[in-house]
């Protein structure tokens, strides 16, 4: 039984958003008289955690506790337009719209609080715990719920805000391809270590170690969730997945999970990652897009590791055991 090991690296960039057709998203915020804020959207949470990170961004900008911000999304009658959740755009675009809306709402919030506290709005600050206070005089403070009540019943003001993120639509020059399609670039570098059984062609991914740079992490655990799921998907793409096992032929197209091969929990490699933060100039709090990129560096890193282990150069995905054996046979006949 012959087992050989190899190491491979890959470094990638990934663009955030795609504005060749225009790529806007809107957000509306209003304060209720219960002390909470509602962010209205028509954006979609695919499981990546949009409903969570958008509430974080809204709470941060408003200066209020996270658990007083509600996300009302997924309804075209109540939520303003969003292009959708794709192109690693949602946190960046929707987040920007929310920051803008929250700034507008915060301005009224502070003005009403200033009237209540008989102070200048510029001298006020939020404490992040549901109160507004005069800077340097913590005893001069008012609860945000009371500000909301006063705005409605006493001053006749809405505490609300509107936000939109819209990068001007870019065209593509037909002759040179000159274009400005995206808003920033995130980056990743993965080092993969594999073990290959040279008799069966089976590849085991021993470890995936990666460094990611994504601007700013809004929620580090959700970032880790994307990295873990995405790098696993990258491994699955590299070694297992295909709807056309004999591509370009269409024979034996899988119909279910007994035929469409995806690795399971027993295949999960040791995964380690570090996240660097170099805030972007365009994202809310410096955010860059993350979701899609996480699958991209593991794929070539794994393929490079296999090629390193075997001294071959496989260039077709997925790298099935059969392709490994055929590459080894080709190498043997070439020598």
């Amino acid at each position: 039984m012959a087992k050989v090991r190899g190491t491979g690296i890959a470094a990638v960039n990934y663009p955030t958003g795609m504005n060749l057709g225009g790529d806007p998203s809107q957000a509306l915020i209003h304060a209720t008289t219960t002390g909470s804020f509602v962010i209205s959207l028509s954006s979609t949470d695919l499981g990546q955690g949009l409903k969570t990170v958008i509430a974080q961004i809204g709470a941060e900008t408003l200066g209020v506790p996270f658990d007083t911000v509600w996300i009302d999304t997924g309804d075209t009658d109540t939520g303003p337009h969003c292009m959708g959740t794709f192109a690693s755009r949602a946190t960046h675009r929707v987040g920007n719209a929310v920051v803008q809306a929250a700034q507008e709402a915060r301005k009224t919030l502070m003005e009403v609080a200033a009237d209540e506290l008989e102070a200048n709005p510029d001298d006020l600050e939020t404490d992040g715990e549901g109160n507004i206070r005069v800077k340097g005089s913590p005893d001069r403070s008012v609860a945000i719920v009371n500000v909301a009540l006063a705005a409605h019943f006493k001053y006749g003001k809405t505490i609300s805000g509107r936000g939109i993120y819209s990068k001007p639509k870019s065209g593509v020059d037909p002759d040179t391809g000159k274009m400005d399609p995206d808003s920033t670039e995130a980056h990743a570098c993965t080092v993969a270590e594999v073990e290959v059984d040279t008799e069966t062609g089976m590849v085991t991914v021993l470890s995936l170690k990666s460094a990611y740079e994504i601007g700013r992490q809004v929620n580090p655990e959700l970032v880790r969730s994307q990295i873990g799921g995405g790098s696993f998907m990258g491994m699955a793409h590299a070694l297992y997945e295909t709807t056309a096992p004999y591509y370009p032929a269409i024979d034996h197209a899988p119909t279910d999970f007994s035929e469409y091969l995806v690795p399971g929990p027993a295949e999960a490699p040791e995964t380690e990652s570090v996240v660097l933060e170099y805030p972007s100039s365009t994202g809310p709090y410096g955010v860059k897009g993350l979701g899609e990129m996480t699958a991209n560096s593991p794929i070539p890193a794994i393929v490079n590791a296999i090629n390193h282990a075997l001294g071959v150069r496989i260039t077709d995905l997925p790298v099935t055991p059969e392709k490994v054996l055929r590459a080894l046979e080709e190498k043997a006949t070439a020598h």
Binding site: Q56, T76, K178, E185, V218, T242, D316
Partner: protein, 453 residues
């Protein structure tokens, strides 16, 4: 604002939807049910390329619970293309097949019945008379003279730049003079790379429920990734005012790009309008795997001019995206691919020709990494090949060529927010790879040659 000032951003607060998920109380589309709900199932093509001679519904109509069938004649604007919303044309995909089918499992006719089982049984009893036509499955064979032509406009490729009065057979990106670069290069390194079509395989399959309301509108519960995109396309296909539609969603059991197509909503809405009852249209797992769009396959040819010290001075990439039978999002993916396929490297001379090619397979579409995932795979395996050709290690070849802020990308956008060097430095440190001093001190903020350190 510095990190220290942030109170909520940067905190790992628990998921907003977490309690719903762990108790099973999160409401997914199929967890809603309505009295009187009908079920829609699709009659699909068994062949990759065929002319439809006739369809016979007589046996299907006798299945208890059968309500009615829908064919292309029932669809107001049957031929569409999803990216018409952002100016991509022409319309080319039928909601329901008209005179021919271009891929296995292409929808031909919808059957509406009282139960899912009755709908499935009725589907099994629809008799199709098909004349099989030669199929083309390989992207390069599809571009050869004599290949069966799939599109009415006479080519097997998407025509770019018609809006500029041009008809280009590929998306072109040009920087510098690639031939001059090849001539100056010490050696040429070439490579061919192929990826495979891949299924998004979300846990929850594509689904919608269209429900007629008292005020004449339709409420559509859907797991689309893009509510307005789906709403707008549905209204255009049905030729009804946009405001007649109310889309509700936002909670999706996994998307990965597979739920950006507008595939179930138009026909479910049509069925609801024709019957006046709520209609559910849910993909079976087999439909999700074989009929819904996939991550398209890509073939990429690299030709690089390289100096002995490892610098890449010219890069030419010819790419073929296997769009399958219809556009879906592939023409756009090709453009994104063309902008990124040269990679995060400073290369003065670049020529990219990226083709969107039609074949007789299920359409490719958007998937996590949209056009860039195949590019990253090909170019990073090619980088190792170059490293070997010039006798450098895989780290060195990447540091030597890494782009930095201020560099010009092939699509003539100035690089900003670059951190390729930094992630490589961090990864090297993680695995205990001791980089040479010159790479350790490199920075993406220093774009001038030799100015770092």
């Amino acid at each position: 604002m510095t990190v220290q000032d942030l109170k909520v951003v940067g905190q790992s607060v628990l998921r907003r939807d977490g309690l719903g998920h762990v108790t099973g109380k999160t409401l997914f589309v199929e967890d809603r049910s309505f009295p009187d709900m009908l079920h829609l199932k699709m009659v699909r093509s068994p062949l990759p390329h065929a002319r439809i001679r006739s369809m016979d519904f007589s046996a299907a109509e006798n299945v208890p619970g059968f309500v009615r069938a829908l064919t292309y004649k029932d669809v107001p604007k049957n031929i569409y293309t999803i990216l018409c919303l952002i100016g991509v044309g022409p319309d080319e995909e039928p909601v329901l097949a008209e005179d021919k089918v271009l891929y296995v499992d292409q929808p031909i006719a919808a059957v509406i019945a009282e139960t899912e089982a009755a709908a499935m049984e009725a589907v099994s009893k629809v008799r199709l008379d098909l004349e099989e036509l030669p199929a083309v499955l390989d992207v390069e064979e599809a571009l050869e003279p004599g290949a069966p032509i799939l599109k009415d406009w006479g080519t097997n490729y998407f025509i770019y730049d018609y809006e500029h009065g041009q008809s280009n057979k590929c998306r072109k990106v040009r920087l510098g003079d690639v031939e001059k670069g090849f001539a100056e290069a010490d050696l040429i390194v070439e490579g061919r790379y192929q990826t495979s079509p891949i299924e998004h395989a979300p846990s929850e399959t594509t689904i919608c429920i269209a429900k007629p309301e008292a005020d004449g509108r339709l409420t559509v519960y859907t797991n689309t990734q893009a509510l307005y995109f789906s709403l707008d396309n549905t209204a255009l296909i049905l030729e009804i005012p946009f405001q007649k539609l109310h889309f509700v969603g936002g909670t999706v059991g996994g998307g990965f790009g597979g739920k950006v197509d507008v595939i179930t909503e138009p026909i479910a809405c049509l069925a609801a309008m024709k019957t006046g009852r709520p209609v559910k249209y849910k993909f079976s797992r087999e439909e999700e795997m074989r009929a819904s769009s996939s991550r398209g396959a890509w073939r990429m040819y690299y030709k690089d001019g390289v100096m002995r010290d490892g610098r890449i001075v010219a890069r030419q990439v010819t790419s073929y995206a296997d769009a399958g039978a219809y556009n879906r999002h592939t023409p756009y993916a090709v453009t994104k691919h063309a902008a990124n396929v040269a990679g995060p490297y400073r290369i003065p001379n670049v020529r990219i020709d990226a083709h969107c090619v039609y074949t007789n397979r299920q359409p490719g579409s958007a998937m996590r990494g949209f056009g860039v995932t195949p590019a990253s795979f090909a170019l990073e395996v090619q980088m190792d090949k170059i490293a070997e050709a010039v006798g450098l290690d895989p780290w060195s070849i990447r540091f030597i060529n890494a782009y930095r802020d201020g560099d010009m990308k092939p699509h003539q956008k100035v690089v900003e927010d670059a951190t390729l060097i930094e992630v490589m430095q961090a990864a090297a440190e993680m695995v205990g790879h001791d980089l040479p001093a010159e790479f350790k001190k490199m920075s993406s903020r220093e774009s001038e040659e030799g100015s770092d350190g």
